[in-house]
């Protein structure tokens, strides 16, 4: 077992434990903080797969910004007792197990039937630079449309939030 395997086992273990923490925490804010930890764990797995840019996006957007959004959303709709905010529904747990099992089955099928070899052989030297060239070249319209999409998101969010205030 090389040191890379050890790093993977540790980070994957942290990710799985954090995900279990998301589900089992009674306090939903603790769930949100566990979610941040699992986002960071997924980011380290991206780094180990040589997908550095994706890992960076995962840390900046998911662990950095989305988690702040989730935590503020929780604080915004806070109920009476925070320690009872993420309770397990006894009735739904049976259906939940079935759906989770079915989903795991589907994901397992797709993992087993995927051929991974070619992807690793054609690994890019500098994906960030390739992304830059494509964004500023062939996909420049999509790049500007992304800006407009973000603008629409900001304006729409403000209108909705102001209406709620």
């Amino acid at each position: 077992m090389s040191i890379l395997d050890l790093v993977f086992i540790v980070t994957a273990g942290i990710t799985i434990l954090a995900s279990i923490g998301v589900v089992t925490s009674k306090n939903i804010l603790h769930s949100a903080l566990f979610l941040v930890l699992s986002f960071l764990g997924v980011a380290t797995i991206y780094f180990q797969l040589n997908a550095a840019f994706l890992g960076l996006v995962q840390i900046m957007i998911y662990a950095g910004a989305i988690s702040v959004l989730i935590i503020f959303a929780i604080m915004l709709v806070m109920s009476e007792d925070i320690n009872q905010s993420n309770l397990t529904h006894k009735k739904g747990s049976f259906i939940g197990v079935i759906v989770a099992g079915f989903f795991t089955f589907l994901v397992s099928i797709s993992i087993v039937s995927t051929k991974f070899g070619a992807v690793f052989n054609n690994a890019l030297e500098n994906p960030v630079e390739d992304i830059a060239v494509m964004l500023m070249g062939d996909f420049v319209i999509a790049f500007e449309v992304a800006a407009i999409l973000l603008l629409v998101a900001i304006v729409g969010a403000i209108i909705i939030a102001k209406g709620a205030d």
Binding site: N50, M78, E129, L135, M136, A147, A161, K162
Partner: protein, 119 residues
């Protein structure tokens, strides 16, 4: 390529070990009297807390978070452009200016609607 991350790994290891060592050393040398109710209250600038501490937040905080999210995504687009800036040329620079201008309209709107006001 992966060995480049050894520095970050070492840094993370230090970041975990340093506070643990500091807290552990403090725990080892300090006196350990029984807990009193006063010792277990949350620290709030030395003043006793009034009412429940788990309160609802105003919608304004959510608005900051939303604007922050949008500009965080903008940073993701800026990063590859900045890495490749020298060889991309003037066209890419103008493209990025247009991109930022479109987003500044969003910032201006948020500002105009009072989403950035702290009250």
């Amino acid at each position: 390529m992966l060995t480049d991350y050894a520095t970050i790994g070492l840094f993370m290891l230090l970041a975990v070990l340093f506070p643990l060592a500091a807290l552990g050393l403090a725990w080892a040398v300090r006196p350990k009297p029984q807990d009193t109710p006063g010792k277990l209250t949350p620290y709030e600038c030395g003043v006793d807390t009034i009412g429940p501490t788990w309160i609802r937040f105003k919608v304004n905080y959510f608005l900051y978070a939303l604007v922050f999210l949008a500009f965080s995504i903008e940073t993701i687009f800026l990063y590859p452009w900045a890495v490749k800036f020298n060889s991309l040329g003037l066209f890419a620079f103008v493209e990025m200016l247009i991109f930022i201008t479109i987003l500044v309209v969003g910032l201006w709107y948020a500002w105009k609607e009072g989403a950035l006001e702290w009250y």
